[in-house]
């Protein structure tokens, strides 16, 4: 920190605040990744107890996936973990919108919302086609 000041890294209060927000983004990301890993590890442990007969039989729709998770099926928990992992970058985008809004950076709040809209469209397309 001292080093930065010595070298003349004069950050504006907004930039300092954004750096603080990036720390919050990191914490939320870490929680998201840990949740995904936990579900994957539970799935792997369930697999040791209940080996699957058909490796190609796994849920890809939200309804059957939740049912499989409820029944503690190994494939269900593994797929839940993968889905949570896929959503961690989306989580980062959502939290970044809040971060930019908090420092009143309207340009970047708009830009990041636009990224989220594109991601939502992609997810909707994926689910619709799949």
């Amino acid at each position: 920190m001292d080093q930065k000041q010595i070298n003349g890294g004069q950050k504006s209060p907004e930039e300092e605040q954004l750096a603080q927000m990036e720390l919050v983004i990191g914490k939320i990301m870490r929680a998201g990744v840990l949740a995904a890993l936990a579900a994957m590890i539970i799935g792997m442990l369930l697999l040791l107890v209940h080996p699957v007969s058909d490796p190609t039989d796994f849920p890809t729709r939200l309804g059957p996936l939740l049912v499989a998770v409820g029944h503690f099926e190994p494939m269900g928990w593994m797929m839940l973990g993968l889905l949570l992992l896929i959503f961690t970058p989306v989580l980062r985008v959502i939290v970044s919108i809040v971060a930019f809004a908090k420092i009143h950076d309207h340009l970047y709040t708009t830009i990041t919302i636009l990224v989220l809209v594109i991601l939502a469209l992609a997810i909707a397309y994926g689910y619709h086609v799949g």
Binding site: L119, L121, G130
Partner: protein, 281 residues
């Protein structure tokens, strides 16, 4: 099944470590191991590869809450183009023959490997752009980072924003179509086109890959291309590998990163060109 799972975890550790050091998604290691050594269908290799990309990108959050090197504004601005590209790529994937694209992108990567080799022999270190670009200034894209190697804050400017955005759109298409992180193209857009320092480009690319891959990963997830028995042990290994890799990365000099980067890009280029050649057989 236990041996196979252990191999998947090990592959993941190697892919994750190299991926985070080089700013790549780790898909280059995942795809050949699964297809050549384990006899998996390329379809499932691509599904596991896109998970590898997200695990490398998001997994770094385990090691670091905050990456001081990355530029969040550059990342979010350019993600407009990568996610649009990934969405277009995912839609096109249903209609397109991807083998032709393997060939084209392979050729482009050969150029990149050559370009980096040329730089390695030429410039001693990163050239910091001090000239100001009106569009980059308007978009507030210029940044700074604390270089642990040089022990000083590096202030840098970027330029040629439309060119960088165009390359990013292409990188997004490649990601959506082929299930790759296309980190090499992202680094190329930021470093070669926009003149961002290599370390900042690599770190920003790592964040962007996850967001880009999320767009196409949902398509692969919902159509059943992502095999949990392959992707889950792989993802677990990658998180371990990228945690190690991201700790090492900050202390490596730019030149050394480049030296590791060149053969990786070259191998990737040959691999992609060979896939493209299959069209003519």
């Amino acid at each position: 099944m236990v041996t196979q799972t252990l191999i998947m975890i090990l592959t993941g550790i190697v892919a994750g470590g190299l991926g985070s050091i080089l700013g790549l998604g780790g898909g280059i290691i995942v795809t050949p191991v699964l297809t050549i050594f384990m006899g998996y269908d390329i379809k499932y290799a691509v599904g596991a590869s896109i998970i590898a990309v997200i695990a490398t990108s998001s997994g770094s959050a385990i090691a670091f809450l905050k990456d001081d090197v990355l530029n969040l504004r550059v990342a979010m601005f350019l993600e407009i183009f990568t996610t649009l590209g990934a969405l277009s790529g995912a839609i096109l994937a249903g209609y397109f023959h991807a083998t032709v694209l393997y060939f084209l992108f392979g050729a482009l990567l050969l150029f990149q490997a050559w370009n980096m080799w040329k730089k390695l022999r030429g410039a001693k270190s990163d050239q910091i752009l001090t000239k100001t670009d009106p569009l980059a200034t308007q978009l507030n894209l210029n940044g700074e980072y604390y270089d642990k190697q040089a022990k000083e804050v590096i202030h840098y400017n970027v330029e040629k924003v439309p060119g960088g955005a165009a390359v990013m759109f292409g990188a997004g298409i490649a990601s959506g179509l082929l299930g790759i992180g296309s980190g090499a193209f992202k680094v190329m857009a930021m470093e070669d086109v926009m003149k961002m320092p290599l370390k900042a480009s690599s770190a920003t690319s790592n964040l962007m890959m996850g967001v880009t891959a999320a767009a196409s990963a949902t398509v692969y997830f919902f159509n059943g291309t992502i095999q949990p028995l392959v992707a889950v042990p792989m993802a677990l290994g990658i998180v371990i590998g990228s945690t190690i890799g991201s700790h090492v990365m900050q202390y490596l000099p730019a030149q050394m990163i480049r030296k590791i980067f060149i053969p990786v890009v070259f191998i990737m280029a040959i691999q992609l060109i060979m896939k493209g050649m299959a069209v003519f057989n």
